[in-house]
């Protein structure tokens, strides 16, 4: 009999330390499922970033490297260039990718580095306790935006749409945005991840899946409220879907 549903092999069977309702755990799971489906556990290497997901190496059951804050794409570049036949996953939070590591992501993308970035956008700094992120929405509260993000008055700037920004770079081949607030979006996000991983293994250019994710703790909500908040506020600002897909024709044919 075929196993219809089980715990992915690439994920250790332990409970995570993430807060209840946190998106990181779900994202870990779908990454692990895709790796299992593609039979890549022995070839996968993840760079787990500085951020709440620094714990990822406790949960993923394959190799990992932990770089300095924001330098994740640079470290992934080094790994992928040395091990081009491996699946290199550059896992990043919004602070890691869009603040301190902006230079690294832009130049890795522009060089068309052949790893896949999983960009977890929870619109806040989770690990350090709720400071404003580059992706924090206008008006959203953060400990460093005590009256809410005020782009002009307080000079805090606007939320950055990372997929759209990177889409202008010719080195990028596949940029998609998903979410993990409900089952439908989780399933779609998993498909984006699969497409990106397949493209990486074919040696196409830079691929990234941005994932809108809940941080109930620092949004100061319960998990149920947080999925709703994400739906109402984040998805309306950060549209879901494939923002850019210039993968080879054979890949598009393959895609379900």
């Amino acid at each position: 009999m075929e196993l219809a549903y089980g715990h992915p092999k690439s994920l250790k069977p332990i409970q995570t330390k993430y807060c209840p309702g946190c998106g990181h755990g779900v994202i870990h799971r779908i990454i692990a499922e895709v790796i299992d489906e593609m039979d890549l556990q022995a070839k996968a290497i993840i760079t787990n970033p500085v951020g709440c997901s620094i714990w990822a190496d406790l949960y993923f059951d394959f190799d990992s490297v932990q770089p300095a804050h924001g330098r994740t794409p640079a470290a992934s570049t080094g790994i992928k260039r040395m091990l081009p036949d491996h699946l290199v996953i550059c896992y990043q939070g919004d602070g890691d990718l869009a603040a301190i590591g902006t230079a690294e992501i832009i130049h890795a993308a522009n060089r068309g580095e052949k790893f896949t970035t999983i960009f977890v956008n929870n619109a806040i700094y989770g690990m350090t306790g709720g400071q404003m992120a580059p992706t924090t929405l206008v008006g959203q509260y953060a400990t460093t935006a005590p009256e809410g993000r005020d782009p002009i008055g307080a000079g805090m700037g606007y939320p950055i749409k990372v997929c759209e920004l990177l889409a202008t770079l010719e080195g990028t081949r596949y940029l998609a945005r998903g979410a993990v607030n409900n089952a439908v979006n989780i399933r779609k996000t998993k498909n984006y991840i699969r497409r990106a991983f397949e493209a990486q293994m074919r040696g196409e250019g830079f691929t990234m899946v941005e994932i809108l994710s809940q941080c109930p703790t620092n949004w100061q909500m319960n998990p149920a409220e947080s999925v709703e908040w994400l739906e109402k506020n984040m998805i309306t600002f950060y549209p879901l879907g494939e923002i850019k897909n210039t993968l080879s024709a054979s890949a598009s044919a393959q895609a379900r």
């Binding site: 300095a68 804050h69 301190i100 400990t143 460093t144 935006a145 000079g155 805090m156």
Partner: protein, 355 residues
């Protein structure tokens, strides 16, 4: 009326002291265990119409300080160890351009990402310049919340007086702990005099144009500039050295410790005195300039030393340089975020004294 004593976290007291010192611009980036300081500045600076920016990185934050300081205002940044490493580039440029600045390090344990618990592992980095080139920064090490506030307040004027960045070297314990604090008088930044070395307002200042730079491609000219700066360092060493001594006069053995470690040693000192052992405490407050001459003098008088640090042994090298082999200098340290207990330190003294 008695001065109001407020109960404050070290991080917040540092923030409030900076605001009261007339800090006109603060630039930071989140990092534990100094997050309360950045959040405090967000609230206070924005409410007062001053400049607060959560920068995209520590590199950006310190370079924002470079820009703000070159206009002559009081500017500050803060972080914790990994972020302070990133600021070293900017600190080197600040020193090269002779710009004042206040940089706060609420240190945590390393190397690398390390942990978020208290540490004194950044002593070398702090007292040896830290970045590239020939320079020093003034380093002040508070032992508690009150002193953290006082030294931060004073750091701005010290930095302006000498045109050398001042580093406040605290640690996670001082940043996170609450104590009573009496705050200094607020200074309105608008009342501070314009600086003759600052850019902007050239017409009103009736002065030639100013070029803030650290670049100097002519070896003789660069050497001359560096020598001039080192003359200033010489004066700083004469005039700024600060330390505290407790029960040193009759002591056979003297703890040398700064910041949090000094508090622990003070506790151990009391235990030792109660047991009839003659133990003293020497606490450097300025880590650069280091109170070498005073330590040398104590060595001449036959004191032996026990250095206690929250590290594998960094300041102990300066103590050994000062003592220059005249008396034994022992070391006991804990690291990784561990803070020794006063009982542990007392046990070490007993061991050394053969008790």
């Amino acid at each position: 009326m008695a001065e109001e004593i407020r109960l404050m976290k070290g991080n917040e007291a540092i923030g409030e002291a900076a605001v009261r010192a007339g800090c006109r611009a603060y630039f930071g980036y989140p990092i534990t265990p100094q997050n309360e300081l950045t959040a405090y500045m967000a609230r206070q600076m924005l409410a007062k119409g001053r400049t607060f920016i959560q920068a995209e990185s520590e590199v950006a934050a310190v370079n924002m300080v470079y820009g703000a300081s070159s206009t002559g205002v009081r500017a500050m940044t803060s972080s914790s160890s990994p972020g302070i490493s990133l600021k070293q580039e900017g600190i080197s440029y600040l020193c090269g351009a002779d710009l004042p600045a206040v940089i706060v390090n609420v240190a945590r344990s390393g190397p690398g990402l390390g942990g978020i618990s208290p540490s004194q592992g950044d002593y070398f980095q702090s007292t040896r310049g830290g970045g590239h080139g020939d320079y020093y920064t003034i380093v002040l090490a508070p032992k508690g919340v009150q002193e953290a506030a006082d030294l931060t307040y004073e750091a701005f004027s010290i930095s302006e007086q000498w045109r050398v960045p001042v580093l406040i070297l605290a640690d996670g314990l001082i940043g996170q702990m609450m104590e009573g604090v009496v705050l200094p008088e607020p200074i309105d930044p608008a009342t501070l005099p314009r600086k003759e070395w600052a850019v902007g307002h050239s017409a009103e200042m009736h002065r030639p144009y100013i070029h803030v730079t650290s670049l100097n491609l002519v070896p003789d000219a660069l050497e001359a500039a560096n020598r001039l700066r080192f003359e200033r360092y010489g004066k700083i060493k004469k005039e700024l050295v600060r330390y505290e001594e407790i029960d040193v006069d009759d002591a056979d053995i003297v703890f040398v410790a700064y910041g949090t470690a000094a508090r622990v040693c003070h506790g151990a000192l009391e235990m030792a005195r109660a047991a009839g052992m003659k133990v003293g405490l020497f606490r450097p407050i300025t880590l650069w300039p280091f109170p070498s001459a005073r330590l040398a003098g104590l060595a001449e008088r036959g004191k032996r030393f026990l250095c206690i640090e929250l590290s594998m042994g960094q300041m102990v090298e300066d103590v050994r340089l000062a003592v220059n082999g005249k008396m034994p200098v022992d070391f006991y340290g804990r690291c990784g975020g561990n803070v020794p207990s006063q009982e542990e330190v007392f046990a070490e003294v007993k061991r050394l004294m053969g008790r």
